[in-house]
Symmetry: C2
Subunit: 174 residues, 2 copies
DNA sequence: TATTGTTATACTCTATAACTATA
DNA sequence: TATAGTTATAGAGTATAACAATA
């Protein structure tokens, strides 16, 4: 259990950057998704290194925060928010529930639903995670002026906000 | 569709929110990796829908292009460039080779190495893929002015180019 | 008939470790 | 001793499909 598993994107961090190995990027240089992916990998790796002790993946963390922020939300609410499948969300919620970080409560209004709530234990975990993450975040944010950062975020939102979804199959980031 | 029965903290979806169905993002709103990931997912999904017929994942495509652009490169060269493990790269290269899109040739200089080359068949595939991708790319790029696009790319590079790698120790991640 | 949750299953991607053959 | 490639294996994440209870 001391093995390092990277569920999403990980690669050994011997590399410096994409062009230092003498490999020319060519037309790849102009591909938005390419830069997006490498940025994602870089952030993910730093996240992993920073949060190693907590065993909380970015998605789990996101779900935890969303439940904290939206008590009573359903699994499907959260899944939609994160563009995830309901079955995948099920597994994720199961893990958080097994850690007693959240709990399911049957809805009184709609008996098909389970409402999700963060537990006190979950709040402790979330706070711990947030503290660690703030250092991680700072490492990247300090590379930008406040204006640049605001622009970057708004550009990213522009990419994913409005959508004329063709069809969907999932996987992320690769 | 998704009705959200939150007992106390329900708020109608603000247009600012990246997400759907009235779920509040809360502190997640300020997390760079969160926006990065959603942008990545959006681009990936569009890529999938666009390139459905070709059965060429973004990574496979990238490897194909890099080999085309850098004839004779080794697997490790490519792997480093894309931040991938050499074993993972192996599997990827195997697939491209099985499709006769690339080929391995033993290096005359260093007999440990296999030099990678794109085949004529590979060039055809790459060109077909590039044609499809240009439509996909345009769908996102048209949301930006030339200046904005240049800024976005340079910001993304700023995220992954220089690396402050905080000692990636082995530990369990999930 | 549609939706929420659920389970089971299979598939894909990736890392780890061990090995070989070279250097 | 280190490096490039290779193989086998195991783990995580995800989607798909089916099902039950409820709307």
């Amino acid at each position: 259990m001391t093995t390092f598993h990277a569920p999403e994107e990980y690669s050994p961090s011997s590399a410096l950057n994409a062009s230092t190995s003498g490999v020319k990027l060519g037309s790849l240089q102009e591909i938005l998704g390419f830069h997006l992916r490498l940025a994602n990998v870089a952030v993910f790796q730093d996240y992993q290194a920073t949060m190693a002790g907590l065993a909380l993946t970015p998605k789990q963390f996101a779900v935890l925060e969303l439940i904290e922020e939206n008590p009573g939300a359903s699994q499907i609410d959260i899944a939609n928010c994160l563009r995830m499948d309901k079955a995948s969300m099920m597994a994720l919620v199961n893990k958080l529930e097994a850690r007693h970080a959240i709990e399911r409560r049957p809805s009184a209004v709609d008996r098909r639903r389970q409402e999700l709530f963060i537990t006190e234990e979950g709040v402790v975990l979330a706070n711990k995670a947030k503290t660690l993450r703030s250092a991680h975040e700072a490492r990247f944010k300090e590379r930008f002026s406040p204006e640049e950062l605001a622009d970057l975020v708004s550009y990213l939102q522009r990419i994913y906000a409005t959508r004329t979804t063709p069809t969907l199959q999932e996987d992320d980031a690769d």
